[in-house]
Symmetry: C2
C-alpha cells in the first residue's frame, strides 16, 4: 500500500509540523510520499498551468490510480472517501494556485472538498487529515472529531 | 465591527500558532474574539450536548448575529460567505465533538463547509481562514490561493 501526494508549491514550517504529524500516524496503515513540484514562474497563466501540469504528470508512478483535487467535482463524505483508500497504489494531485489542465489527467478521479476556496497549505492539512480519518474508518478505529 | 468565535474544546500549540497568525491579519479589518468553552465530561452524550449548548448560549453577546457551523446546512462559496461578514456583530459557533442542540439556536444562520467531517482543531483553521479570505474579497485585496 502506497500513497503519493503530488503538489505544486511549498509548506511553511508551521504547516509542515502538523502535516508530518499526520504522516506519522498514517504510517501505521500506509506509506505516504509527498512529492513537491516547484512553482513555475511566469506572467503567462496558461504557460504556468501547462508547465506545472507536465511536471506533475512526469511524477505520477506507473499504474497509480490518480485522484485530482478539483474545484469542479463531486463531494464525498469521509466514509465514502475512505473507500478510495482501498486501492493499492494511489496518487493525489494538488495543483498550484492556477490549477492544472484537467483534461490531461485521463482516467483520473476528481474530488471536491468544499464549495469554498482554501489556500494551498491549509488544503494539504485537509487532505492528509481525510486520509488519516479514512484509514481509521476502514480499520474501525474510534477517532475523535 | 466585531467577530466572536465561540467554540468547545482547546487548540494545541501547533494549531494555535497558525490560528493566531490569521487573527493578526484579520485585525486590520475587524477584532476577532475567541471564546473557548470547556468540554463537559460525562458518559451521557445527551447531557454533554445539553450542557455545552447552554454554555455556548450564555456566551453569545446581545444583538449578535449567530452563524452555526453545522453538518446539516447549505454550503456557500467563499465569495458568498464574505457577504455575511458585512454584519456588524457576528458570532460563529463551533460545537464540541457531539455537536450542539441546534433547535436552541433560534434565528441562527447555519453554514456547512464540507460533506466531509473535519476535526475540531483543523476546523478552526478552516473557519478563520475563510473569515480572512472573506475580508480580502470584500476589500478587493488580491489573496494568493
Amino acid at each position: 500500500m502506497k500513497i503519493n501526494i503530488i503538489s505544486v508549491g511549498t509548506l511553511s514550517k508551521e504547516f509542515q509540523v502538523i502535516f508530518d504529524d499526520y504522516i506519522k500516524k498514517i504510517n501505521f496503515y500506509s506509506n505516504v510520499n509527498l512529492i513537491k513540484i516547484k512553482e513555475f514562474k511566469s506572467n503567462n497563466k496558461d504557460l504556468i498551468i501547462k508547465n506545472e501540469t507536465m511536471a506533475i504528470l512526469e511524477k505520477i508512478p506507473k499504474n497509480s490510480k490518480v485522484f485530482l483535487c478539483s474545484l469542479n467535482a463531486e463531494q464525498y463524505s469521509s466514509e465514502k472517501f475512505a473507500l478510495f483508500l482501498q486501492e493499492d497504489n494511489i496518487s493525489f494531485v494538488i495543483g498550484g494556485s492556477h490549477g492544472v489542465d484537467e483534461k490531461m489527467f485521463k482516467g483520473a478521479w476528481k474530488i471536491n472538498f468544499s464549495k469554498m476556496t482554501f489556500p494551498h497549505q491549509l488544503f494539504h492539512l485537509m487532505l492528509i487529515e481525510q486520509i488519516y480519518r479514512g484509514f481509521s474508518i476502514l480499520n474501525n478505529k474510534i477517532y475523535h472529531k
